[in-house]
């Protein structure tokens, strides 16, 4: 991988906008976190937003939209069809946590017995331009779950802010293609050293702000080690569930939550469409089955069981299923929670009690 140095005034003209693709990049907002949004063809990227913490919403929706057709079918023989799409997307300003989230989604949705065709198509149409974090939200906790605030892999291009400009590290042909025409000198050893210092500084800052949740030092959990947590029907979960209002904001903003529901709609008398929508394991309808009175229609009628199931999926089941922790520490669920539930506190408290 080669890193180049691009001065600020040239940087805003990256990437090549003469090509046919949709560009999504973080935009500064008057208050709060940047917002990930599509850029008009004549707009330039907003470097200030790259210097802020990660965007308020995760880029998950670009690989797995909140609702999309997954195919059509007809009653006539041979009437089935696969949904077609997708124009290329360049995703700018992706953070290390989001790359880890995508690696997790890849494993779940592509590497099992059935590969998800629409996810694969959208994912493969996406070029990733990631960047180092030089700021973080109070809720950021990547280092608590085995991550770090700068990407080292799984990007096409990575950006690091240095004095006077940016280090642009090109990892793939796709990335090279995107920056075709880039005329910049290679980064100097000193610039690379500065980058390393900035990365360590940022890592220390994330560690510092999460000290209360890992008194023995990070990580609290990672892909190979997870704290023991109480079972889902344990009363301990009820303390946290008391603050949950079952709004599903946490699952919507989560970059690794992928649960969905399929429903059908008619396009015509003999042509039908199957639509996938996001679903949330916290909702009472999620598990609900058809059935008569006196039947137990949900295996998790209690909200505390559902909240526990969500946390246990991330911190206990996912490592068993795919060998990865299901949480990347982006902290969005903490920002989004109306009840002020802090996932770090949930896991560290219950882990501490469990081992006490």
């Amino acid at each position: 991988m080669t890193a180049y140095f691009v001065r600020n005034e040239e940087f805003v003209r990256l990437p090549d906008r003469t090509r046919e693709y949709a560009l999504f990049a973080p935009q500064s907002t008057a208050s709060g976190l940047p917002w990930l949004a599509p850029l008009e063809p004549d707009a330039t990227i907003d470097p200030d937003a790259l210097l802020r913490p990660r965007a308020a919403q995760s880029p998950k929706a670009l690989y797995m939209p909140a609702a999309e057709s997954v195919g059509q079918y007809g009653t006539a023989e041979g009437g089935t069809a696969v949904a077609t799409r997708t124009r290329p997307v360049v995703l700018f300003g992706v953070r290390a946590c989001e790359l880890r989230a995508r690696a997790y989604l890849d494993q779940v949705l592509l590497e099992g017995e059935f590969a998800d065709p629409t996810y694969r198509e959208r994912r493969n149409a996406t070029t990733i331009v990631s960047c180092d974090c030089v700021d973080c939200a109070e809720s950021c906790f990547c280092t608590l779950v085995g991550g770090q605030p700068y990407p080292t892999e799984a990007f096409d291009v990575n950006l690091s802010s240095v004095e006077g400009g940016w280090l642009v590290e090109v990892a793939t042909d796709r990335g090279r293609d995107l920056l075709a025409g880039l005329d910049a000198p290679e980064a100097t050893a000193e610039q690379l050293e500065r980058r390393e210092e900035a990365r360590q500084l940022m890592t220390t800052r994330v560690n510092e702000q999460n000290k209360p949740f890992a008194p023995g030092g990070p990580p609290l959990a990672d892909d190979t080690h997870q704290p023991p947590l109480p079972q889902g029907d344990d009363e301990a979960w009820q303390r946290f569930a008391a603050d949950c209002v079952e709004c599903a904001a946490c699952t919507n903003v989560c970059p690794t939550c992928y649960c969905f529901y399929l429903y059908d709609q008619a396009l015509g008398p003999e042509q039908f469409e199957r639509v996938r929508t996001w679903d949330s394991c916290l909702l009472s309808t999620y598990h609900r089955m058809a059935g008569g009175v006196r039947m137990k229609l949900s295996p998790r009628p209690r909200l505390s069981s559902r909240l526990a199931n969500r946390v246990l999926h991330k911190f206990a089941y996912a490592p068993e299923q795919v060998g990865r922790l299901g949480c990347v520490g982006c902290g969005r669920c903490i920002d989004a929670c109306l009840g002020g539930i802090d996932l770090r506190e949930v896991v560290s408290t219950l882990a501490r009690e469990g081992t006490a």
């Binding site: 696969v82 949705l109 529901y261 059908d264 008619a266 295996p299 069981s305 246990l312």
Partner: protein
Amino acid sequence: MIAKNPYVPSPAPLSEVIAETPTIKTLVVRPGEPMPFRAGQFVQLTLPGVGEAPFTPSSSPLEPERLAITVLRTGTVTDRLHACEPGQTLALRGPFGKGYPLEKTEGKDILVVGGGVGLAPLRALILALLSRIDSVKRLSIRYGARCTEELLYRSEWQRWAEPPNVDFAATIDNPQEGWDGRVGVVTTLLKGLDVDKANCLAFVCGPSIMLKFTTFALLDEGLAPEQIYLSMNRRMSCGMGLCGRCNIGPYYLCKDGPDMNYAKIKDYPNVF
């Protein structure tokens, strides 16, 4: 038969509708291409434009060109499925799941315990076992329903019990006119169980509460958790372990089941 796009069903004409009980019908569909399945595997049956629901075929896996799907009328999709008539075109995805571990039944005492419409998936198992009945030492079928109107496949019981190593007993919850068989919930048929317990496998299917008390009854009788397979037919949307909703611990019932060895799931929460 997994289509290229695993979310899209293939057309399956409805060839026959059998009224089993006032609330249960069996729909016989003939998929465009035969759909080989193992007993216990399930399919997603689509009523075009309305939606789909998971069912384990109740017919013999030896007849992949003809799938019988026994449906209790109990919700939006099943209401509409009950209104379907022969000649209509339904659609199928699947088969999904692992199915019953038939390879483990060799030389064993097999205990099949059904509750209500839960006998439907078990019929595929029973028919598969009957087709090679000499391979098992014994097949004991125990079946319970709330009332005579909810007893399934009554005309077949006698035929099932014909081989010398097969026995069948049924019960209904409360006494009823015209019924001179056993009375009481299905677990009453398990008291003092006369099977070779060390060499036995139990396959259980029924509503959640029946699964729970049958499991406890079997454990009481001395079976080990490893000997008990439960058909955990929960709400499933994708059928492939992706949509998330059917998990018990790290297992997805659609992918890793729906027939789960009780030893695997017993220590996780919300099993029943």
